[in-house]
């Protein structure tokens, strides 16, 4: 046991975990800053400016504020589940980073069923919202939780089915190998990314991913104009912070997954000395994920919320048939190409 702990392989793994976890937690904190800043600029405001240059210390101030707020547990709440809900929400959100390849070697573990593992883990995240809403024993949280569970079940279908087209082409479920399978070029100059081969799947994936993470225009779990703050109306202090952290972590996860499956993962132009070459793939990966997150934030700033029945109709009557048609078409083409 001790020998294993001193083994260089184990130390390398430990280092990877520290780098990825630290990097992700830092990024999550600064996502709140980015979101506030971008939305402010869209609405012609300066956004946070007081704390540090460009308000860059704002996340730290926010964190301290969360820490010092009073931790309220409503009298009628179901204490055990009320306390457990933020944890149930956060742990799956962070667990999925253990299989995401941030670079050719910057991946904690490459599971053979990595993609399905992420879907399994993220599908558990809905319980955080459901339990939080139910255990608060209050009407707005309950309504938010019910909307959220119905929405997540509906959009998980099209999310999963949209990915099948990519899997048919890549022939593997391992995330690192999906990235490797996209490293050739089409016609000599276009990178063979799945976004060009599977544009419909990409569209369905992005829309469903926004719905899965409960972001505008699909944020029915929260919808502050109707339900106060949705499922976390009764939450305060660090518990609320955990819910928020989970939301941002889910955003990063689906963006990273989109990058891996449709945008070629860490692929990008390579140049410069050897040291730069080892760092470049991660830089490309982070940049691509950043583009997605920027898109998310812009959506929140510009698009109005749908109506609830529109959401359900759109999911079941448009996205689901579209992704099924995409699977049939893709498998036909793959079968013809193989024979």
């Amino acid at each position: 046991m001790i020998e294993y702990l001193m083994d260089s392989e184990f130390l390398l793994l430990l280092l990877k975990i520290i780098v990825i976890f630290g990097g992700v937690m830092g990024a999550l904190a600064y996502l709140t800053w980015l979101e506030r800043k971008v939305i402010a600029r869209v609405q012609m405001r300066p956004g946070p400016t007081r704390v540090g240059p460009f308000g860059l210390l704002q996340p730290i101030a926010d964190g301290l504020k969360f820490l010092f707020k009073e931790d309220v547990i409503p009298t009628n709440a179901n204490t055990f589940l009320y306390v457990a809900a933020p944890v149930v929400s956060l742990i799956p959100a962070l667990l999925s980073f253990s299989v995401i390849p941030f670079g050719p070697s910057l991946q904690i573990t490459d599971l053979g069923v990595g993609l399905l593992f992420i879907f399994a883990i993220t599908s558990l995240g809905v319980y955080g919202i459901v339990l939080g809403g139910w255990s608060s024993n209050s009407k707005y949280p309950l309504m938010g939780a019910m909307r959220s569970s119905a929405q997540m079940i509906s959009y998980e279908l099209s999310l999963t089915l949209s990915v099948v087209g990519v899997l048919l082409i890549a022939n593997t479920l391992s995330l690192a190998q999906i990235v490797v399978s996209q490293q050739r070029t089409l016609l000599g100059f276009i990178p063979r990314w799945n976004i060009f081969l599977q544009p419909v799947a990409f569209l369905v994936y992005v829309i469903s991913a926004v719905a899965e993470t409960n972001r505008l225009p699909f944020d029915f779990a929260e919808s502050e104009q109707e339900l106060v703050a949705g499922w976390h109306t009764e939450y305060s202090s660090l518990k609320f912070a955990m819910f928020m952290l989970a939301e941002y972590a889910n955003m990063v996860t689906v963006s990273a997954l989109a990058t891996i499956m449709f945008l070629g993962g860490w692929a990008g132009p390579m140049f410069g000395p050897a040291l730069l070459q080892t760092a470049l793939p991660t830089v490309w990966f982070v940049l691509k994920v950043g583009v997605f997150i920027f898109f998310y934030v812009l959506m929140r700033a510009t698009v109005p919320r749908l109506r609830y029945d529109q959401l359900m109709k759109f999911g079941w009557k448009f996205l689901l048939p579209l992704s099924l048609a995409n699977i049939v078409l893709t498998s036909l083409i793959v079968a013809i190409a193989a024979s």
Binding site: L81, L111, G112, V113, L116, F117, F119, A120, I121, S123, L124, V126, Y127, V130, L131, G133, W134, L142, A145, M146, S149, A150, M152, I153, E156, T160, L173
Partner: protein
């Protein structure tokens, strides 16, 4: 090491399953069942059935149980009322009979060649299961799609207020 993991998760599975019966409110029963499902999925990983372990979490914990929890929330159920007290003596008959049944099953299983090492087995990868599904089990596989379609229509018909 492996044995420790097995015992821990077997204990979690059994404990959670018992908790499903003990809890008075269905919501707690459902949550306890989710715990049991995840524990069984870990046991699947120990048996090297990775694909099934993940599928178990996706379908059971991620879809079926969400449906249960959703319905429990939707109906806003009161506490479990204890069943009618007719045939109360069956409780006292049931427990010895149940234990006898357990004894029978375990006695039967004891005689199976139980010493087979589970490490030496096959790996249940997605590819192997998929290949088997689309060659040996193609007809049953197609039949399941029909089953799901029928279940879908049945659920819609039952849940509809006025037909």
């Amino acid at each position: 090491m492996m044995q420790t993991i097995f015992f821990v998760f077997a204990a979690v599975a059994v404990g959670a399953a018992i908790n499903v019966l003990v809890q008075k409110h269905v919501m707690y029963s459902a949550l306890s069942l989710i715990l049991m499902l995840t524990a069984v999925s870990v046991l699947f990983i120990l048996l090297r059935a990775d694909f099934l372990a993940v599928i178990q979490v996706i379908i059971y914990a991620g879809a079926i149980m969400v449906l249960f929890v959703f319905v429990i929330m939707l109906l806003n159920l009161p506490q479990d009322e204890d069943g009618a007290d007719r045939l109360w003596w069956l409780k006292f008959l049931g427990i010895p009979l149940g234990l006898f049944f357990l004894f029978l099953v375990i006695a039967t299983l004891w005689n199976v060649e139980s010493s087979v090492d589970t490490r030496a087995g096959i790996s249940g990868s997605a590819g192997a299961i998929g290949h088997s599904l689309f060659t040996d089990f193609l007809l049953p596989f197609e039949a399941t799609s029909l089953l799901i379609l029928i279940a879908l229509m049945g659920a819609v018909v039952f849940a509809k207020k006025d037909l």
